[in-house]
Amino acid sequence: MNASNLKQSELYAAALRRPLFSSKAWIALAIVTAVLALLPLLNLVFPAGHSLHVSAYAVALLGKFMCYALAALALDLVWGYAGILSLGHGLFFALGGYAHGMYLMRAIGQDGVYQSNVPDFMVFLNWQDYPWYWTFTEHFWYAMLLVVLVPGVLAFLFGYFAFRSRIKGVYFSIITQALTFAAMLLFFRNDTGFGGNNGFTDFKRILGFDITAPATRATLYWVTLAVLLGALVLARAVTQSKLGRVLTAVRDAESRVRFIGYEPLGFKLFVWTLSAVMCGIAGALYVPQVGIINPGEMSTENSIEMVIWVATGGRGTLIGPIIGAGTVNGLKTWFTSVFPEFWLYALGLIFVLVTLFLPQGIVGLARRWMTSRQERTL
């Protein structure tokens, strides 16, 4: 082997050894995490009215936003790095939520309105017993398994057939949208056995703890934060790896990747399934904090809104979607309480302006600003 070849492979190995985040980024991440982790504590420790008190509402809202951020992160993995725009991530989110919701429904026990062994909606349907697909859902571990498996297996099967047929671009987006729409119609039916229109709600306890107790809510919040952090690190690891490089290549020139000798199917399928599982986990974390899951989560609007979180934050940046989910949902919360009738105008405007003027999102804007400042100092 000649020297140049050796040198190249060394360079390549060095590139792969790049740290996950720069030390600055690690510090920033640690600070933000610490601040976020502190908030529920402030809520628990200080009584209402104290100047350091954080309202339970704010904590719940942030917990919800972190679930959205996790979903946005999952979407960024496929859209930002593999160029696959999914309009069906609302489906995976909802499936994860429903899987966890099944456990939470069974945890209600006989405390429902009708004191029956089965949930109230089954009482309405005159069902004496749980249908077969509810088997074992009284066990928490099994529900958690379902949270991972149901979105994962569905995504794997759907992705396998779609990517094998080389469906891409807008066709893929439209197909995922159709799938989600079909699933929504299915879940809206009462006899599907998932509560129909109303979905699951009125949860009482999780793992024996009262689900409305402040301590339980704080724990859920911390779990969400930990999962989000873990997911961010994992996503970073995936995109920094060799696999991530191939994915980016697939995004930019799929045919060329194929001509070079890579089969994109496996790469796309891996990241697609991973993304779906992440999104399912986000849904599973969302349900106990919000206290309801219904087929509305699968609506076309929800999935597209997820996409705009990613676009607003900056696609292909991982941290961007988290910022974007927070920004857009923060705006939504503010608008719907102050100018409810103007929220849709604002959201529509975000869609248009971000696509027209901010193709790299907020993160891209920040990067441009930072580079221009560096240039000025030079």
Partner: protein, 543 residues
């Protein structure tokens, strides 16, 4: 003394009724024989029944008046046994129809029990067989098909021999057959079963089934084997006819749904096919078209109420122009900056759709607005005996065909169409040879939007018009475009009609929602097999 007078009067009236039996109705248009009516004033139910049955056979129009009054408790009897009828316009004599100034104070209403009421209903139908209006005669003949008494059979046969109208004749034949089924002659019964089979009317199935019933001893309800065979054959005929009607009905509703899908998707196919623009605001353009229809309707109500029926026609060009302008404005301001980035157009147009929806909510309110069908669109035409094809659905099918022809002609026989096709095939080459691509893009987008506006006019005639109208169609119209393949008018037409027909044929088995789910899953599977749709472009343009 009073009692004996009543008795005498009663006997007298009985005799008169007996005489009336021999008395042939002389088709007198004016009056009735008072003797015929006399029992009605009495207390003997059997006599009343007979009188009512006789009134049914009367060809006089006054008989119907009397029966009607009797059934509605508007018949009165004076102490002098004169029968009076309170037609709502005034009091008349029951027999002659001559007007009486006022109701005598002592007049009692003639009481009627349920047994009499049934007889009155049958008799009334029988008497209406002689009505002037063929529609009334037809209704009477049909009314007698259910539960008429054998006693009306002679009346029916007479009516049949007098009848001129073909439709009424047919109804009478069927009515006679239902009665003949109970006759004593086996050959008549066979004949009757055959006639009932000919009608193909599902309403006769229970009657025919009853003939084939076996009792506990294994004896058939119908003793004659030949009649049973005829009944079985008749049942088969009916089943087949019902199946055909169902099939034609499904086909019609399928084509009509397909036309709606076609209208909704056609504009999308143009913009998507030409520019690769995923226009998520397409549904909102449909909605704007429907709201324009609403506005035009309101305008006609206010200014030209005499031409209100024509407002739909007037709404078409207005909706086309209005939505085309909206579309062109969108193209100039937003979409043209995003060519070549279809996913970004998807997001931007989604944002536009949100704003358009909210704008309509602000302008017209969040509630649905009322758009009424013009009178010429209500009602329908009946085919195959029982299938009603409503005029508004027929109008939509015709309209969809016209719009397709319009688009086809525009694309294939105008200079703009030539440019559009050139750009679809090879944008850069078209640009090189001098096609003003920017202008053509704008016009083509305007055309797509304008067609959405036309579709909106059609949709406003079918369902609710509200700010959410477009949302319901966006997934469906994308399905049509994906299924049909890009840039192919024929593909869009076939895909839309096919989807509509398949949906309607699935619905009876699976219910509407499951049919929709099945269709969506089928499309997802289909696209795995043929990612480029039914009519895929071949060669270089394929990638």
């Amino acid at each position: 003394m009073r009692r004996s007078a009543l008795l005498i009067r009663f006997l007298l009236s009985l005799a008169l009724v007996w005489m009336a039996g021999a008395w042939v109705p002389a088709a007198s248009a004016a009056g009735l024989d008072p003797a015929l009516l006399a029992p009605l004033a009495g207390d003997d139910t059997d006599a009343k029944l007979e009188a009512i049955a006789r009134l049914g056979t009367e060809s006089s129009a006054q008989a119907a008046v009397v029966l009607d009054a009797l059934g509605n408790d508007r018949m009165y009897v004076t102490p002098e046994a004169q029968l009076l009828v309170d037609t709502r316009q005034g009091i008349v004599d029951a027999a002659t129809g001559a007007a009486i100034g006022a109701m005598p104070a002592q007049a009692d209403s003639v009481s009627v029990n349920n047994r009499l009421r049934r007889a009155i209903a049958a008799a009334l139908s029988a008497s209406r067989l002689h009505a002037q209006d063929p529609a009334q005669r037809l209704a009477a003949a049909r009314g007698l098909q259910r539960g008429a008494d054998v006693t009306v059979l002679p009346t029916l046969e007479k009516a049949l021999s007098d009848e001129q109208d073909a439709e009424v004749k047919e109804a009478l034949t069927v009515t006679i057959a239902t009665l003949q089924l109970k006759s004593d002659s086996a050959s008549l019964r066979t004949q009757a079963a055959y006639v009932l089979g000919e009608t193909g009317n599902a309403a006769f199935r229970p009657t025919l089934h009853a003939l084939l019933q076996q009792d506990a001893q294994g004896a058939y309800a119908e003793p004659d084997a030949q009649v049973r065979a005829a009944a079985t054959a008749a049942l088969h005929r009916i089943e087949r006819h019902v199946a055909i009607v169902e099939w034609v009905g499904n086909l019609f509703y399928g084509v009509s749904l397909g036309s709606v899908l076609l209208l909704a998707a056609l504009g999308l196919a143009i913009t998507f096919g030409l520019m690769g623009v995923i226009n998520m605001a397409h549904g909102e353009l449909l909605m704007i078209g429907a709201y324009v229809t609403y506005a035009v309707q309101a305008l006609f109500r206010a200014w030209f109420p005499q031409w209100l029926d024509a407002y739909v026609i007037a709404a078409m060009p207005v909706a086309f122009v209005a939505t085309a302008l909206v579309g062109m404005a969108l193209e100039r301001t937003v979409i043209r900056w995003l060519y070549g980035r279809p996913l970004e157009t998807l997001l931007a147009t989604w944002g536009i759709s949100l704003m358009l929806m909210q704008a309509v909510r602000t302008l017209f309110g969040a509630q649905n607005v009322e758009v009424s069908n013009p009178s010429w669109m209500s009602g329908g035409v009946t085919v195959l005996g029982s299938l009603v094809l409503s005029y508004n659905r027929i109008a939509i099918i015709v309209f969809a065909m016209l719009v397709v022809m319009f688009v086809w002609a525009l694309l294939n026989h105008t200079r703009l169409g030539l440019f559009v096709r050139a750009i679809t095939q090879n944008r850069r080459m078209a640009d090189c040879v001098g096609v003003p691509t920017g202008r053509v893009d704008m016009l083509a987008f305007g055309l797509g939007a304008g067609i959405a506006g036309l579709a909106g006019v059609a949709l406003s005639q079918l369902g609710n018009v509200g700010p959410d109208l477009g949302r319901g169609y966006i997934v469906d119209s994308f399905m049509v475009v994906v299924l049909g393949g890009v840039g192919q008018l024929a593909g869009t037409v076939v895909a839309a009609l096919g989807l509509g027909a398949v949906t309607k044929f699935l619905e009876p088995y699976s219910g509407a929602v499951m049919a929709k789910i099945a269709i969506l899953v089928l499309i997802v599977l289909f696209v795995q097999k043929r990612p480029q749709g039914l009519f895929a472009p071949r060669g270089r343009s394929a990638e």
